[in-house]
Subunit: 215 residues, 2 copies
């Protein structure tokens, strides 16, 4: 398969594929002559994943590169690759929060983890996300005590177990890693979309039809 065909199969313009190759998001094709390279099925798969990460998951190109490299770094054991891949996932989305509030939020999250018995994993990007979000809520004066967060957290725990079961359903290490990354990222819009739908549903039930209107 040449570049043009890869482009046709995946729906991604050749210029963009070249860009991904340049950035190391796609492994180079197998050089068949001095000026041409051959691409295979796994390039198609990989390209799909890349697009999904970038377009749906909003993952920055540089981050996607790290994640994908972690997946295929054969020098690492499976569990480390998984860890690096999923922990590399979100951009550290900086937001200027008062460091004092941030600390308070950190305490609250620690409290929550304690109450839940989540004492295995030490730190994680997820925790940073959470602390920042909680700090922002606190700064705006919205409630997010450990008790408020508990129901969310319990639900998150159920989801996580469900997700991991799904991932374990894949056979080979590589497909498992790919699935872990893809499901981590792609189920985020699923979850958020469902929450929004549920909001709309609940609001309509409570307040009537006026809620569902769009501008």
């Amino acid at each position: 398969m040449r570049l043009a065909e890869l482009s046709g199969r995946s729906g991604v313009p050749t210029a963009t594929i070249k860009y991904y190759l340049r950035e190391g998001l796609l492994p180079p094709g197998e050089r068949v002559t001095a000026t041409q390279a051959e691409y295979g099925e796994e390039h198609v798969r990989r390209l799909g994943l890349v697009r999904a990460l970038i377009q749906v998951g909003r993952v920055p190109v540089a981050t996607a590169k790290e994640v994908l490299h972690a997946i295929e770094d054969a020098s690492l054991p499976h569990d480390a690759r998984l860890g690096i891949a999923v922990e590399s996932l979100p951009p550290p989305r900086g937001s200027a929060v008062d460091p004092e509030v941030l600390e308070a939020a950190g305490g609250r999250v620690a409290e929550l983890r304690n109450a839940l018995g989540w004492d295995h994993a030490t730190t994680s990007v997820g925790q940073e996300m959470l602390v920042t979000a909680v700090a922002t809520l606190m700064q705006l004066g919205y409630p997010c005590s450990a008790e408020h967060l508990m129901p969310y957290a319990r639900l998150a725990g159920e989801l996580a177990a469900h997700d991991m079961d799904l991932v374990e359903g894949f056979e080979t290490p590589t497909t498992q890693l790919e699935a872990a990354v893809a499901l981590t990222v792609l189920y985020e819009p699923v979850l958020l979309g469902l929450r929004r739908m549920a909001h709309a549903e609940e609001a309509t039930r409570r307040y009537g039809k006026g809620v569902g209107t769009r501008s």
Copy 2:
């Protein structure tokens, strides 16, 4: 309060505040002389909300403007304002999915709604998000049948009820609307952060300490 003080109180640079004023994200201050305006406490609150929407919620400036205008449009009834505000929230984050797959995904979501009995709200941005995400998953060959989605959906339903209860805890219509917007947006990173944390926890339990390592 003058612009400089508003800037000091909120931690937002004056240039940025001017930008928000220009874009209509903040109502103009009360003109006290020909060249000066007076800002009040509600500008501080509003500015906090704007920053939260933009920086934490990643809401585009133009979208934030719509949302905030809906909140304060006194000519509309409360429920309509709520509807417009939350339905304006997410950017329609276009992602090029095969329209055929998209349709299949739409069918699956309809099936899910049917199974859940979510028949009040008609369409919603949330549903679009969900359909797109499901279509992407399908295109990549990952499982997301209605059955797979059920546990997520049920949890989303619980969350929604919980969220609405929270919002109802606020007294005035305006604070309720603000809370609805803020909680819709700001609990998204909370939820995602918790899910990620739960993943890390569960992965560590299942596979050991290697998972929590960062690159």
